[in-house]
Symmetry: C2
Subunit: 374 residues, 2 copies
């Protein structure tokens, strides 16, 4: 009989005194049941979406190390005016890590053929030595593909493909993406180039613009450029984009994109004080700027701004679409969806103040991978 | 044979020098063709939606009378920073007035039975002595109903009914309305009471709250009250509202309503940093505050904010729904959809500075009717 497996699991806990503490809990996993596997985690990326749970609204600059060498902790302070946002998680020791990859070390009787296989995984609690999960939440990698290759095969690839699916399902033919030099943005650019879909890439610096142009991007606009508004209008008009995906959330950029779409739509139309009847959609999928979304409604009434999340999208799209997207990710894992990591760290290292400061910055081009074996 | 008809038509014109001028143009209408009628206008309400075209972004305090007794004008200045919003209507002499009522004085050969009938009308250019339009854009009033009774039988009644239709079509069971003491809001309150639909009425003063309570409203919250946030949360939770219609547009109120919905949805749910999966909808249908919409995204990702307009709604809903709604308005014209006017003015009076200042204020309880015969 299979034995239970014991190991560490990274946790984030908010307490009533306004602190947030990262720690390594010791957890024991019972043997896998039918349809279940236990995976020895070998690679798990630190995604922006993980930082939301890991750090939440705490002040990153306030990090103070504690605990012991065996059981280190890192404690941060949450500014008083932001504590309301985490009231619902008070006292809960929450595991972190949306996705990862590793080797199957135990499996239920009906999925025993998976033992020894390298798999990519989705489902949370991946910043851990071991993860027990349903075999259906794993994808077996091809021969020669490493755990690092498969560590990030869910969140970014399925999100990028999800944008294109959403665009088509809602009747649009071209799209805008912001923070477009991100790994997600680069993958989206490769998808759109391969599929012949016009994409407007909005970036925040000349270096990011160059990165995308070097990758063959057709439309790149830089918010730091003097002529940003005009360049955005021109690119939106040329591409025909009427849907946008925004990773930033706060500020006026989303509304400016809608205004650019409206300018293109009403160019040769008769005046209507209600604006054009061309429907314009903005989806917010990230919160690089957690401040308020400021919408200057200068684009009539045919518009919508809403939230976009991967899991509700997949649920709504159904099993057939999800299966098709997963198959494409597996086929193009080391090309379209290749992810390069700037640094690999261990579980305990993630709690060291200077390492924490480095991955918390979310700098473009920097991407951290956790390998619990280190 | 029918002869052509000549009369006055109120016009609004923006010029390149940044002025907006109201004037009375002399127009001649050719005899009606098949399916057409000419109506002598006897009553046309000044709706907030008319003021958007009539006054636009001009400074109301800048009004200067001009012209002659026969052909008066009223000229206003548009502040430089708002001129971009009207660039598309430069130099166009635009007729005004969404709806009205009057007596049919001429008709095409196939609709001759309408001559002499009192009808309500929709279609613009109603601030005029005469209006030629399709008979299908008219509703014949019942015996005993006056032109004043039927002057406002389209915009407010169909909008209020449209909110309820939209709520049901999108799977919601209760709704929120802002500026709820407006004529539209009062009509919506009567519809919801009659149909057993929970409605949260958001108003801006104790007097408005009393007005709605006197009309039997169940949930009334006052933004000027100290406990507004708590009262809003309680009313939204009690009603179960997950869709809101907002006449104000600018500021933070819309986002506060979404946050109240989220608080109700996540009350007994496990913590998720992505928020609840209860979908929350906010529709902006007016712009009492033309400033930016400020959305503090404290309510996860399952939300949407968009524009709502009557005509696109009717078009999408289809002829059957539109016919059903029109029939209800006609049946309940002097009860559910009764509109009381505080003052009746003539066409030329609308161009007098002190009269203009009075109807431009959009004060609750004040409602102006134009009767071109005066």
């Amino acid at each position: 009989m299979a034995e239970s497996v014991s190991g560490r699991e990274l946790r984030s806990t908010v307490r009533e005194d306004g602190t947030l503490t990262l720690s390594l809990a010791r957890v024991t996993l019972d043997p896998p049941g039918p349809g279940e596997v236990i995976v020895a985690v070998e690679a798990a990326p630190i995604n922006p979406s993980d930082l939301g749970l890991l750090v939440g609204p705490a002040d990153p600059g306030s990090a103070v190390p504690g605990g012991s060498a065996d059981a280190p902790t890192l404690t941060l302070t949450i500014p008083p005016d932001r504590r309301g946002a985490v009231a619902a998680r008070l006292g809960q020791s929450l595991p972190v890590g949306n996705e990862g990859a590793g080797t199957v070390i135990a499996a239920g009787p009906d999925v025993e053929d998976l033992v020894g296989k390298t798999v990519g995984m989705i489902g949370g609690a991946m910043f851990a030595d071991h993860r027990k999960l349903r075999a259906s939440d794993c994808i077996v990698l091809k021969d020669g593909q490493t755990a690092a290759d498969g560590a990030a095969m869910f969140v970014n690839p399925l999100t990028a493909l999800g944008f294109v699916e959403t665009m088509r399902a809602e009747g649009h033919r071209a799209l805008v993406n912001t923070a477009a030099a991100s790994i997600l943005g680069q993958q989206l650019n490769r998808i759109c180039l391969a599929d012949g879909i016009p994409l407007v890439n909005v970036v925040r610096s000349p270096e990011q613009a160059q990165l995308l142009r070097d990758a063959g991007a057709t439309h790149v606009v830089d918010t730091s450029a003097d002529n940003f508004r005009e360049a955005l209008k021109a690119a939106v008009a040329e591409s025909g984009a009427t849907i946008a995906f925004d990773a930033i959330g706060g500020g006026t950029l989303g509304g400016q994109i809608l205004a650019a779409m409206e300018a293109a739509a009403s160019k040769d139309a008769a005046y209507s004080r209600y604006g054009s009847d061309m429907f314009k959609q903005l989806y917010i999928y990230g919160m690089l700027d957690p401040g308020p979304t400021i919408i200057n409604r200068s684009f009539g009434f045919a518009w919508s701004v809403g939230g976009w999340l991967l899991f509700p999208f997949l649920q709504k799209a159904g099993a057939e679409v999800a299966g098709r997207l997963r198959a494409r990710v597996r086929d193009e894992l080391t090309t379209t969806f290749a992810t390069r990591y700037s640094r690999t760290i261990g579980l305990a290292e993630a709690l060291q103040p200077e390492v924490f400061a480095a991955y918390e910055r979310k700098a473009t081009g920097e991407k951290f991978l956790i390998d619990p074996r280190r």
